[in-house]
C-alpha cells in the first residue's frame, strides 16, 4: 500500500458516492438490529429495486446513530432522520425521496440530543458502512497511520499523545502519553499492544458501539500505538457476549491485512504489525490489566500485585501496552490533527470528549459524546430529555460497580475526572444510569454489591469474604431485619475492603455503598429504624419485635 493507492481508493469511493442521488443509511448496530432494522433495510432495498431506482439510490447499513430508544433509525441524505421505522414504511420513505420527509417518522435532528454533541470518537458512526474498509478510507481513514509511519518518529508520536492530554477512557484516567512512554522506553525487542474491549460494566455499551460501527478506527489506533511503543503484535480482548462486534472486527482485520494496512512492511516502511482477537469468557475481573493478561495466556483471570506493571512485565513477561477501545479510537484524530487541537477541547485536566451510554429512567436513552466539562444537568435534562412519565430525578449512577450515585444537588457539576472523584464517584468507562423516585438506593447498592460478590475472582480474602459480608448486611437492611449496629459494621467493612483488596475490583467495590450512604443516609435509616422502604421497592414484612 502506498499513499497514492490509498488516495485512489478514497477517490474511487467518493466518486461512487457522488454517483448516487440519494443515500439511505440504516442503523444496523445491536440496538436497532434487535428492533429488526435488518428487515427494514431489506424492505427499502427491495422497494428501491421495484421502482428501478437502484442506480440513483444507495441503501446501506451503518453503525450506531445514537438514539437507541427510538430505533430502528435511518437517515436519508444525511439530512433527515427517521425513527421507529418498520418494514411497511419502506414505500413511503422511498416515495418521499427528494421531497418533504415523511411526517410521522420524522425525528428532528435539531433537538439537543444531537445538536449538543461533539463527535470525535463517534464521528464515523452512522455515516460509514462498518463492513467496508473503502468507506473508512474515504472518510480519511489510515491517513494518520501513513503520516506517523512516514513523517514522524515513534517519540514524536508519543509526544503528540502526551501533548493532547488524553487520559485512559477505561475508567481510571491514567495519562495515555505517560503509559506509552513507559512502554516505549523498554529496550526489549518483543512488545505487545492490547486493546481492552472487555466492557464488563453493567450499563455500559460505548465500546460495543464503537467496535460495531467503526472497527477500523480502533485498528488504526492500535497500529499507531504499536509504532509509537515499538510493538509488532497486538491483541484485541473482546467479550464473547458481543458476537456482532467480534464478527465486524474479524472482517475489518482481514480487510486491513489484505490491503497491507496490517502485516509486514506497512506503507513500505520497516514497521510490521499484526492483530489477533481473543475472546473473553464472561469474567468482569478480566477488565483489570493483569487479569486480562492472564486470560489471554489461557489461564484463570486472576490479577497479580503490581508493580511490576504490564508496561515492564506484561503478556508472557514482555512489555505490554493496554488501552481501552475508546482511548485507542481517539488516537488517529489526535495524530491527524495534532495534540494541541485535542487539548483545546474539554477542561484543564480532562481533555477531549467522552462517550456516555445514557440509560435508565431517561427519555432519550442511547449513546452520546460530549466535551469533558459538560454539566451533568445538561446531559440528563437537555440531551437526555429528562425523566419520562413525570418522574422526579433522584440520582445518576456513573462508573458501574466501581462508581457511585450522584444526587440532585450536584447536577450543576461539570463532568470530568476530578469533579466526579470529588463527589465519591468515578468517570468509569462511561455508563450513566439515571434513577428516579421509584428506585431504592439501598437496593441499588445491594445490586452492585451482589455483582462484585459474584465477580470477585476469589484470590484475595478482603474482596472474596468482604463483599459477601457486605452483601449479607445489605440484604438484611432491605428485608428490614438490620439494626444500627449492622450499618456501623457495613461502614467498617467498606473501609477494610477498600484499603486491603488486591486489585481495583475489590478496592472500589464499596464505592456504591459509600456514595449512597453519604447522600441517602435517610433511606438507609428508614429501612433500619422505621422498617419501611421510601420508594416501595423493597418488600419489608412488618414483624413483631424488630430490633430498634
Amino acid at each position: 500500500m502506498t499513499l497514492e493507492e490509498l488516495q485512489e481508493i478514497a477517490q474511487g469511493e467518493l466518486e461512487k458516492q457522488l454517483g448516487f442521488k440519494h443515500q439511505i443509511n440504516v442503523c444496523v448496530a445491536a440496538g436497532c438490529l434487535s428492533c429488526q432494522s435488518d428487515l427494514v433495510k431489506d424492505a427499502i432495498q427491495q422497494e428501491v429495486v421495484r421502482r428501478g431506482m437502484e442506480s440513483t439510490t444507495r441503501v446501506k447499513g451503518v453503525g450506531c446513530l445514537g438514539l437507541c430508544t427510538a430505533g430502528p433509525l435511518l437517515t436519508v441524505d444525511d439530512k433527515t432522520l427517521y425513527q421507529g421505522v418498520v418494514a411497511a414504511d419502506a414505500s413511503d420513505i422511498v416515495e418521499a425521496l427528494g421531497g418533504s420527509p415523511v411526517q410521522r417518522l420524522d425525528c428532528s435532528v435539531q433537538m439537543p440530543f444531537f445538536s449538543r454533541q461533539h463527535k470525535i470518537v463517534l464521528e464515523n458512526c452512522g455515516k460509514i458502512d462498518p463492513e467496508r474498509v473503502e468507506e473508512y478510507i474515504a472518510a480519511g481513514g489510515y491517513l494518520a497511520l501513513y503520516k506517523a509511519l512516514t513523517k514522524m518518529t515513534p517519540p514524536e508520536v508519543v509526544d503528540q499523545i502526551s501533548k493532547s492530554g488524553l487520559r485512559g477512557r477505561g475508567g481510571a484516567g491514567f495519562p495515555t502519553g505517560l503509559k506509552w512512554s513507559m512502554v516505549s522506553k523498554s529496550l526489549n525487542s518483543t512488545k505487545y499492544v492490547i486493546c481492552n474491549a472487555d466492557e464488563g460494566d453493567p450499563g455500559a455499551f460505548m465500546d460495543r458501539s464503537v467496535l460495531e460501527s467503526d472497527p477500523h478506527r480502533v485498528i488504526e489506533g492500535m497500529a499507531l500505538a504499536a509504532y509509537a511503543v515499538g510493538a509488532n503484535h497486538g491483541f484485541i480482548y473482546v467479550r464473547a457476549e458481543y458476537p456482532l462486534a467480534v464478527k465486524r472486527l474479524k472482517i475489518a482485520i482481514s480487510q486491513a491485512e489484505k490491503m497491507g494496512l496490517l502485516g509486514y512492511n506497512i506503507f513500505n516502511t520497516t514497521f510490521s504489525f499484526d492483530i489477533k482477537i481473543r475472546l473473553g469468557a464472561g469474567a468482569f475481573v478480566c477488565g483489570e490489566e493483569t487479569a486480562l493478561i492472564a486470560s489471554i495466556e489461557g489461564r484463570r483471570g486472576t490479577p497479580r500485585p503490581r508493580p511490576p506493571f504490564p508496561a515492564e512485565f506484561g503478556l508472557w513477561g514482555y512489555p505490554t501496552l493496554i488501552n481501552n477501545v475508546e482511548t485507542l479510537a481517539n488516537v488517529a484524530p489526535i495524530i491527524a490533527k495534532g495534540g494541541e487541537w485535542f487539548a483545546g477541547i474539554g477542561t484543564e485536566k480532562s481533555k477531549g470528549t467522552k462517550v456516555f451510554a445514557l440509560a435508565g429512567r431517561v427519555k432519550n436513552t442511547g449513546l452520546i459524546e460530549v466535551p469533558m466539562g459538560t454539566l451533568l444537568r445538561d446531559i440528563v435534562f437537555d440531551i437526555g430529555g429528562g425523566i419520562p412519565g413525570g418522574g422526579k430525578f433522584k440520582a445518576v449512577q456513573t462508573g458501574g460497580p466501581s462508581g457511585g450515585c450522584i444526587p440532585e444537588q450536584f447536577l450543576d457539576m461539570p463532568v470530568d475526572y476530578e469533579s466526579l472523584a470529588k463527589v465519591g464517584s468515578i468517570m468509569g468507562s462511561g455508563g450513566m444510569i439515571i434513577m428516579d423516585h421509584t428506585s431504592c438506593m439501598v437496593d441499588v447498592a445491594k445490586f452492585f454489591m451482589e455483582f462484585c460478590m459474584s465477580e470477585s475472582c476469589g484470590k484475595c480474602v478482603p474482596c472474596r469474604v468482604g463483599t459477601a459480608q457486605m452483601h449479607d448486611i445489605l440484604c438484611k437492611i432491605t428485608e428490614g431485619n438490620a439494626s444500627e449496629a449492622d450499618v456501623a459494621m457495613l461502614e467498617d467493612l467498606c473501609d477494610l475492603v477498600r484499603n486491603t483488596s488486591l486489585c481495583g475490583l475489590g478496592q472500589t467495590s464499596p464505592n456504591p455503598v459509600l456514595s449512597t450512604m453519604r447522600y441517602f443516609k435517610d433511606e438507609y435509616m428508614a429501612h433500619v429504624v422505621d422498617k419501611t422502604c421510601p420508594s416501595g421497592t423493597c418488600k419489608i414484612h412488618s414483624h413483631v419485635g424488630g430490633v430498634k
Partner: protein, 169 residues
C-alpha cells in the same frame, strides 16, 4: 509470542463425531500451545453447546495442560457451561439499566411459571433460564434474549407470552 515448534499432539483416540474437527482446528491454529485453552473451550462450547468431562479431558490431552487446570478455567468463566442447555434459552439481562427497568420481576415471573431458578433448565429440557451480566442493549432495557434474538422493553407478561410459544408446542 515465542515461536515454539508446533507439536502436533492430536489425541490418539479420535472420536467419530464430526464436531470435534472444529475443536481440533482451534487447537491446531494455535500450534497446540497451552495458551490456546480458552479459545479451544470456546470452540467446544460452540460445537457441543456445553463442556462435558470428556471434552475437558480431550482438550487437556490435546494442549498438554493438566486436567485440573482445564477444569479450573472452565469453571472460572461464566460464559462456559458444564451442563447441556435446554432446547430453547431465555437470557434475561441484569445490567444496571435493565435492573432499574424491572428485570428482577421478569426473572421472578419466569421462575414462578416454570419452577426454575436462573441457570437451570426445565425438567422436560425445553427451556433454560439464564441471567446475563449486561448484554449492552441498555437503550432497550429491560432486554431479554430469546435464542439469540434480542427483545427490548420487556415485561414479565411479554416474556411469558413468548415463552409460551416454545413450551406449548
Amino acid at each position: 509470542m515465542d515461536p515454539k515448534p508446533a507439536v502436533s499432539s492430536a489425541p490418539s483416540k479420535q472420536p467419530e463425531d464430526r464436531r470435534w474437527r472444529m475443536v481440533d482446528r482451534a487447537m491446531r491454529l494455535h500450534g497446540f500451545q497451552p495458551h490456546a485453552l480458552i479459545e479451544t473451550l470456546h470452540a467446544v462450547q460452540e460445537s457441543f453447546g456445553y463442556l462435558d468431562m470428556d471434552a475437558l479431558k480431550y482438550v487437556a490431552d490435546g494442549l498438554k495442560v493438566p486436567l485440573s487446570q482445564v477444569y479450573g478455567v472452565a469453571t472460572f468463566y461464566h460464559f462456559f457451561s458444564l451442563k447441556p442447555a435446554g432446547e430453547h434459552t431465555c437470557v434475561v439481562c441484569m445490567g444496571t439499566a435493565c435492573y432499574i427497568g424491572g428485570a428482577a420481576e421478569i426473572i421472578k415471573g419466569v421462575g414462578e411459571q416454570y419452577k426454575i431458578a436462573p441457570g437451570e433448565t426445565t425438567r422436560d429440557g425445553k427451556l433454560s433460564l439464564v441471567v446475563a451480566r449486561c448484554i449492552g442493549s441498555c437503550g432497550l432495557a429491560p432486554a431479554v434474549v430469546f435464542d439469540n434474538e434480542v427483545d427490548g422493553k420487556s415485561t414479565p407478561k411479554s416474556v411469558l407470552e413468548k415463552l409460551g410459544r416454545w413450551t406449548n408446542s
